[in-house]
Symmetry: C2
Subunit: 197 residues, 2 copies
């Protein structure tokens, strides 16, 4: 029904998150209207994904030897945000006021799924804390059993070092009506309640 | 904040319909997980878009000299579905029970926007009707002033040939609650009312 390349591009688009048959078709037909230069740029960017490596220090994605955060001498080594995925780094970088470093675990401990501490990038975190003058490690993981397990494990292995290990509270997102928040979150937020300053 | 190719791929995804910053980012990070072969296939399909031409008979998209519908000798030449865009052809092909041909206008007449009959692919429709044994032309265009204008124009230029020119009624889509239908559509559907058979 479609020329071969349209068929293939629809198949490729369908592999993307949240894209079904109809959206993929709509996208494919819009690509038909792209300028040749835009097509080149698009295709080239996709090919270049193969050049993406992991930063040997923090495990974030990079196309250099080290990621741009680890190699930035103006950023302090005293604070490390521990996150699950490279995308989480972007979220915090968008806050714009964080000047420390990151550590990307690349997964969460999940005994049920057979994911043990040695399967994720945790050992290197301990090494970073041991070798550098790290003052605070802020663990920011998805509030879930796996997130909590991983957080507790990190707290345990870092206990012997002179470093503060903190987390971000469970609570209600800005602008969200309380009626949309599940009772588990409300209960946890209630336990983490703070004095009004 | 991103490696260069991620930045570029996000920009490319943002050119697609309905894709904003957040979706483009999510899609870019999912491409990071593609196998090398999937990346090749994706990039190649995008490059191959340049090979897409228009069928000289019906103006549908094709990567051959003629589109697969026009070159299919098992399809009859007696019926022509007149549609606006190549994508509309796909919609009707998905019905699965149509065995005639198509004619893609590539636009609608719109005096307000300066689009005249000679700016769209109408002349060749008259030629097809004149030269082939076409029995019926079914005009299926968006119900709008431009669609109506184009439909009337087609009816006029085909009046001198022994061909039936028909349209599809304005009505209520299957499964749609009437409360979601605008009053203009209801009024038109009322005018086009049919006996219950």
């Amino acid at each position: 029904m479609y020329p071969e390349c349209i068929k293939k591009i629809i198949e490729s688009f369908k592999k993307l998150p949240g894209i079904g048959e109809k959206s993929a078709e709509r996208m494919a037909f819009s690509v038909l209207g792209f300028e040749p230069e835009s097509l080149d740029e698009f295709a080239e960017a996709i090919e270049d994904i193969k050049k993406i490596k992991r930063c040997p220090i923090c495990n974030n994605i990079t196309d250099k030897d080290e990621c741009y955060i680890c190699s930035d001498s103006k950023r302090n080594n005293e604070t490390i945000f521990v996150v699950e995925k490279p995308k989480d780094v972007v979220l915090f970088e968008k806050m714009g006021n964080y000047n420390g470093k990151y550590h990307v675990l690349g997964g969460l401990i999940s005994p049920l799924e057979g994911i043990n501490p040695e399967d994720i990038n945790i050992k290197s975190l301990e090494k970073r804390v041991e070798e550098n003058n790290v003052k605070e490690v802020i663990v920011v993981l998805k509030p879930s059993i796996e997130g909590e397990t991983t957080m507790q494990y990190i707290k345990k292995i870092l206990a012997k070092y002179n470093v503060k290990v903190s987390k971000i509270p469970i609570g209600i997102p800005m602008g969200t009506d309380i009626e949309y928040i599940d009772s588990m979150t409300l209960e946890m937020a209630f336990e983490d309640r703070q004095d009004i300053s």
